[in-house]
C-alpha cells in the first residue's frame, strides 16, 4: 500500500493502530490476571486488575477523540474511513472486554475467602485460555489486516460457547450437590459468562477486521454455540 501524500495523516493512522494494540495488550493482561486472581484467590492481583481498567477506559477515550478529530479534519475515505471506523468499534469492544475482566476480578475478590475444590477451575481455565487466544489472534488479525485469521477467530467462537455450556452444566451440578457451593458457583458462573461475552467481543472485532479488509460485512449468520439460555437441568 502506498503511503499517504500527507505524512502526518499516515502517522495519525499508525498512532491509532499503536493505541489499539496497546489497549488490546492491556485487555489481554486484565483477562489473564483476573483469572489468575480467581484461581489463586489473590485479592491484591484482583485489585490490580480493577485498577488497570482505568487505563483501558482512558485509552478508549483517547482513541475515540482521535477518531472524531480525524473524521473532522481528514475526512477519511474508503479504506481510511473503514480504518478509523474499525478503530472506533474495536476500541469499544476492547473497553467492554476490560469491563468484563474487571467484573471477573471483582468476583475473584468476593470469593477469595471461600474454599473451593480444585477441579472446579479446570473448565474455566480452558475457557480463559481459549478466549485469550481468540483475543490475541483477532488483535494480530487487525494488526496484519489478516481476514483469514479473523475469519477463523469468528468461526471458533462456537467452541468457547460449547465450553461455556459444559462449565455451566458443571457448576449447576456442583450447586445441586452441595447448596453451600451456591454462592461460589454463582460468582464463577458469572465469571464464565463474562469470558463467554469476551469471546463474543473478540468475534465482533473479527467481523470489524473482515469489514476493514474487504469493505463488506461477513454475510452468514455467526454460528452460535451458547445454548444455556434454553438449558434447564431438572432436579432428579
Amino acid at each position: 500500500m502506498k503511503e499517504h501524500i500527507v505524512r502526518s495523516y499516515e502517522e495519525e493512522l499508525a498512532l491509532l493502530d499503536r493505541k489499539i494494540a496497546q489497549m488490546g495488550g492491556l485487555a489481554e493482561d486484565a483477562l489473564g490476571q483476573a483469572f489468575d486472581a480467581l484461581e489463586k484467590r489473590d485479592p491484591r492481583l484482583a485489585e490490580a486488575v480493577i485498577g488497570s481498567d482505568k487505563a483501558i477506559d482512558l485509552l478508549q477515550k483517547e482513541i475515540e477523540e482521535q477518531v472524531i478529530a480525524m473524521i473532522a479534519r481528514r475526512q477519511p475515505m474508503a479504506d481510511d474511513l473503514r480504518h478509523v471506523m474499525a478503530a472506533l468499534r474495536i476500541t469499544s469492544d476492547l473497553e467492554r472486554i476490560g469491563d468484563l475482566a474487571k467484573n471477573t476480578a471483582k468476583r475473584a475478590l468476593a470469593v477469595s475467602q471461600e474454599p473451593y475444590p480444585k477441579p472446579i477451575m479446570s473448565g474455566l481455565r480452558n475457557m480463559v485460555e481459549r478466549a485469550l487466544r481468540q483475543l490475541k489472534d483477532v488483535l494480530d488479525a487487525y494488526a496484519e489486516r489478516n481476514s483469514e485469521l479473523a475469519l477463523s477467530v469468528w468461526r471458533e467462537d462456537e467452541q468457547i460457547d460449547a465450553m461455556y455450556n459444559s462449565v455451566f452444566r458443571e457448576l449447576l451440578t456442583y450447586m445441586m450437590e452441595d447448596p453451600r457451593n451456591i454462592g461460589l458457583c454463582t460468582h464463577l458462573l458469572f465469571g464464565a459468562k463474562n469470558i463467554e461475552r469476551i469471546g463474543d467481543h473478540a468475534t465482533n472485532i473479527a467481523e470489524v477486521v473482515h469489514y476493514l479488509v474487504h469493505g463488506v460485512s461477513i454475510a452468514d449468520d455467526r454460528p452460535k454455540g451458547d445454548e444455556t439460555s434454553s438449558t434447564l437441568i431438572s432436579h432428579q
Binding site: H4, M77, A78, D80, L81, R82, V216, A219
Partner: protein, 289 residues
C-alpha cells in the same frame, strides 16, 4: 471492473476477497451481453478521444442514469472533462480533436452526422468551472437561450420562461427587483446559479457541470449543491469535480478516471467506502502519485 448490469452488482456483493485480476479487469470494456442499466440516459461505448496524436480518452464505456447525479472524479488531465465535453460535443470546437466510439442519449447517437450540434447543445446544458454570465442584464442572460431557439412566441411567454428558470435555480428571490442589472454585478455564487438558470431555460434533458463550485466559497458551494440535489429530480446531471467530498455529498453514481481510462464506476457510497480498484482507492484516500 466496469459494473453496469444487475448481474454484476450481485456477483460483486458476494465477493469477499480482493484479488489482483479484479483490478486488472477494471480497464476492460463492458462485458459482452451485459444488460444496459434500467434507466440509462446517456450511454457511451468504447469512446476514444484524440487531440492530434495524443490520446486523451481510451475505450470509455459507461451508462449514466437519468434523474440522478453522476460525478466524474480523477486527477487533473485524467480525461474526465474531456469526456464531459464529448457529451455535448464541445470538443468539436477544438480543431485537432477526434472522437471515436459511440455516445447515445436516449438511444440516439449524438455523433450521427445528421444530428445538429446546435440542437444537441440545447438538449445538453452545460455549466462551467468559472461562472461566465454574459455581460448583459440578468434577464437577457436567461432569455438568450430561449430566444435563439425560438422557445417563446411572445414576450409574456419569454418572461414566464425567464422567471421559472430563475425560480428553479433558486435565484428569483434575490434578483426579482433587479432583472435589468448586469449579470456580472452578482456575487460569484449568484453568477453560477444564473448560469444554471441560463442552462435550464432551454429545457435540457442532461446538464453537464464542469467543476461548478471550484471558484466559490463554502456557503455558495452549499447553495449550489442543494440546487443540484433539487434539480436531480428532473434532469440527468453529470458533474466533474476535484473535490471528492463534493462528489460524495452530491452524487449518486461516481466514476473514477485515470490517465484517460475509466478505472471504476459505481454507487457513490460503494466507491467512497469500498472501492474495488487499487488506483481508485489510492486516489480517494490521498495516496495518489
Amino acid at each position: 471492473m466496469v459494473v453496469t448490469g444487475a448481474a454484476d452488482e450481485g456477483s460483486r456483493m458476494n465477493e469477499q476477497v480482493r484479488t489482483g485480476d479484479i483490478a486488472g479487469a477494471a480497464v476492460s470494456a463492458l462485458p459482452r451481453g451485459a444488460g444496459p442499466a434500467v434507466t440509462a440516459k446517456v450511454r457511451a461505448r468504447h469512446v476514444d478521444v484524440f487531440y492530434g496524436d495524443k490520446q486523451a480518452l481510451k475505450d470509455v464505456s459507461v451508462d449514466i442514469p437519468a434523474r440522478a447525479v453522476t460525478a466524474f472524479i480523477g486527477p487533473s488531465g485524467c480525461g474526465k472533462s474531456t469526456f464531459l465535453r464529448c457529451i455535448n460535443r464541445m470538443n468539436d470546437t477544438i480543431p485537432t480533436s477526434r472522437v471515436s466510439g459511440q455516445i447515445t442519449i436516449d438511444g440516439e447517437d449524438i455523433y450521427d452526422p445528421r444530428l445538429d450540434v446546435v440542437q444537441l447543445r440545447a438538449r445538453v446544458g452545460m455549466v462551467f468551472q468559472k461562472p461566465n454570465p454574459f455581460p448583459k442584464s440578468i434577464y437577457e442572460n436567461v432569455a438568450y437561450g430561449p430566444r435563439i431557439h425560438g422557445l417563446a412566441r411572445n414576450k409574456p411567454e419569454l418572461d414566464g420562461i425567464v422567471m421559472s428558470s430563475l425560480e428553479k435555480a433558486g435565484l428569483l428571490k434575490e434578483v426579482r427587483d433587479r432583472l435589468g442589472d448586469s449579470g456580472t454585478s452578482l456575487s460569484g455564487g449568484q453568477q453560477q446559479r444564473l448560469c444554471i438558470a441560463r442552462a435550464i431555460a432551454v429545457s435540457p434533458e442532461v446538464i453537464l457541470m464542469d467543476e461548478p463550485c471550484s471558484a466559490l466559497d463554502p456557503i455558495a458551494t452549499a447553495r449550489i449543491e442543494e440546487l443540484i440535489d433539487e434539480l436531480r429530480e428532473n434532469y440527468c446531471i453529470i458533474m466533474v469535480t476535484h473535490s471528492m467530498q463534493q462528489a460524495a455529498r452530491v452524487s449518486q453514481r461516481t466514476a473514477f478516471f485515470h490517465l484517460g481510462e475509466l478505472i471504476e464506476q459505481g454507487d457513490t457510497t460503494d466507491i467512497f467506502t469500498n472501492p474495488r480498484n487499487r488506483q481508485t482507492q489510492d486516489y480517494i484516500t490521498g495516496r495518489y502519485g
